[in-house]
Subunit: 139 residues, 4 copies
Amino acid sequence: MITNEYSIFETELTVRPDDIDMFNHVHNSKYLDYVLAARYEQMEKYYNMSWETFEKMGYGWVVAKVTINFKRPLKMGDKMIVRTGILEMNEKGSNVQFEIINKTTGKVSSDGIFDYVMIDLKTQRSCKVNEEMIKAYSI
Amino acid sequence: MITNEYSIFETELTVRPDDIDMFNHVHNSKYLDYVLAARYEQMEKYYNMSWETFEKMGYGWVVAKVTINFKRPLKMGDKMIVRTGILEMNEKGSNVQFEIINKTTGKVSSDGIFDYVMIDLKTQRSCKVNEEMIKAYSI
Amino acid sequence: MITNEYSIFETELTVRPDDIDMFNHVHNSKYLDYVLAARYEQMEKYYNMSWETFEKMGYGWVVAKVTINFKRPLKMGDKMIVRTGILEMNEKGSNVQFEIINKTTGKVSSDGIFDYVMIDLKTQRSCKVNEEMIKAYSI
Amino acid sequence: MITNEYSIFETELTVRPDDIDMFNHVHNSKYLDYVLAARYEQMEKYYNMSWETFEKMGYGWVVAKVTINFKRPLKMGDKMIVRTGILEMNEKGSNVQFEIINKTTGKVSSDGIFDYVMIDLKTQRSCKVNEEMIKAYSI
């Protein structure tokens, strides 16, 4: 994971049996859901500006682009650490790097970058991230 | 499938690879999603009062109870016919029976009953089904 | 929940953001996945005969029938307690009752019964549950 | 979409109601599942060397990397055209570009690239793509 000026936060998750696919691995698209689950927790726990806080203000975060590498598959029963950290955050949105670590082996299962934009929930269009938000997430 | 006074409608669906689980079968909870997909199509196509029509009026249909039998698993690539029909419809909601037929073998893969109630999308509480709606669905 | 001679076990789970549907509730079919996740954990933790133990012996547990009531929807961020207990277990399979409790309100979100049968993973056909297995689960 | 020497194939899919998320859009990770569904169909229909053919030979295709852009969200009831084409195929694997087009508007909903590697289903390790396979897919 690239070092940078922003903090890296960790969330522990467990593979759910319904995540398993025809190869007896976690299905590839579920890794995106793990990153979302981790960021959702971290928004409230570490940034003190939760998903629900944005929602009440009429905003939501949606993914504009994902680059994801699948390195070592997670399997039934595995526990993982999802580490995420902001790479860049400005009025246009934020880029978040992530690593999913298999808790048993300590090895990287998947890593990559999510580009997020903020949308106005009424118009469903992207909108500017304001100074207060950028400040809250600049830790 | 129990014969009754209401019409039986059919929707053809294809198993999606992400529906497959650790047994190389369609995962059990996905059958509920197939019934929802079939009813969604049939609401517009056959009853002429679509999901979106209810939504614009401020209503949504949610499931209150499901009884489902898993008889013969669907597999990767299978096509199915989802047959559904109302058993009862009144101001409290509707009960819909279904059968999922494997298109290749003609055999029943799954069957059961969904009990639906209508909710007011604003209050998220259940509300009365009106006469016009009952009439539209009494075919 | 029906009292009976078998133990009731509890597993805590958290709603994952990808479980949320068009009503901003947990999607109905996901409750089945929560019960599976709870039983999977409880098989290892409490019965001492895990999913993987059965798998190594060439067996798997599949669902033959589900009856499920949806009472109060879970939402984004909710934590739940999944309580399950065997109602009956014999050579043909087992029936497991469950209750999903919203951890914040203490109220029942969903309850019902799963009927399981054991399959031979090679033939994919149902097979007899032996005495040792029945004994391990008779707690 | 980048023009190239390989053919572009099209598959039509319909959004399933269980694909919808808290924003009343198709959930981001489901787009990966749509690409998989399209490739699965195209492997049999156009390349004449199906998923099951590889499976019988003891091989499977898994995703090593995905780059995906989310441009315009698909919604409840939408139909889409999934266009895919090989960018490169060699003994190490294949890179497949894709575009998901909203059938009603004709606009790009999502596009990107999947990098696939072939695995030996027994060892679960990546293995060489042979000449016959490369030839079958070089159309």
